[in-house]
Subunit: 155 residues, 2 copies
DNA sequence: TTATTTTAGGACATTTTTATCTTAAATAAG
DNA sequence: CTTATTTAAGATAAAAATGTCCTAAAATAA
């Protein structure tokens, strides 16, 4: 029935970001068991497109969120210590930028307490809760849930 | 720095939805003073593109969120009584569909309590608060804020 | 060194969203 | 009835996001 943005599925993050989070969480589960994984393995277990995910992992590698090695026996890995430090917010920031923190609910270029858009005050409240959630959820947390079978990546 | 979705500005709603909300709020302020407004007047005061906004208002007209009249002295208007009944959630629903209520944080086609994605539980909490906020904020509330000069539509 | 494996990254293609253009339909006034 | 004004809506265009393809670069091992 919705004529506009008919494919928009209420996503708070871009597809790139969704693929990135899924890939990182899967890589983390494997790193917890000492396994370095190749891109093919990643997308097989995260349900994301291979080439696109490769690009995204490249960016996340630059941001030091994941470690990559070329050549035979290469692949992606995340040090368990890092998993606890890296928060979902870091992935979102690396891919979508600081959008989550700054954007106006109605798309104004600037929107603040002193000159707010009509939904500003209510919007900021929700966004701050989202921000806090992202900043307090570590990759380790998510990886443990996935490894234990409590959560899934593909459907 | 963000290579992906570089134009994505952290929007929770589509552009179509943003334009729609701004247009409706402006029309409401004018209707409160008994003025029916033309599309040209609307976009001049909401900063949105004219033809696109016209399309969106067409959809909102069909959904009975705004009333339109063709011909001279025609334009858009909203009965003050309706303004208090219409919630932001109605506009979002008319344009973006039920996405806000159903979408999975990581884009899975299905994602529920029994088979959740890694961020499901935390994501649902935030989304429910967003939903409640949208469902309890009326067009009348927003129009009053704009009319009094407390909020703005263009920047 | 050479062959092989794997990520890196630029160029290209597709899909979705956003936006415009043009014509039709409706309405009111003369 | 004719004309002017205004929204309705289909066709089209542009822009942005998503996704693929291909070659280069890096690393390893024989």
């Amino acid at each position: 029935m919705s004529k506009f943005a008919p494919e928009k599925d209420g996503a708070m993050f871009s597809k790139a970001c969704e693929h990135g989070i899924k890939a990182i969480v899967y890589i983390a589960t494997q790193s917890l068991e000492g396994r370095r994984v190749k891109i093919g393995d990643v997308v097989e277990n995260s349900g994301s497109p291979e080439a696109f995910t490769g690009k995204i992992l490249g960016a996340l590698t630059k941001h030091n969120i994941v470690n990559s090695l070329t050549g035979p026996y290469g692949g992606f890995e995340i040090a368990p210590k890092r998993m606890k430090e890296i928060k979902v917010s870091d992935i979102v920031f690396a891919i979508d930028g600081d959008s989550v923190y700054k954007g106006c609910g109605l798309g104004l270029s600037e929107c603040s307490n002193t000159e707010p858009c009509p939904v500003h005050s209510k919007f900021v409240k929700i966004r701050n809760e989202l921000k806090k959630m992202l900043e307090t959820t570590s990759i380790y947390d998510l990886a443990v849930g996935l490894k234990s079978g409590k959560t899934i990546l593909i459907r």
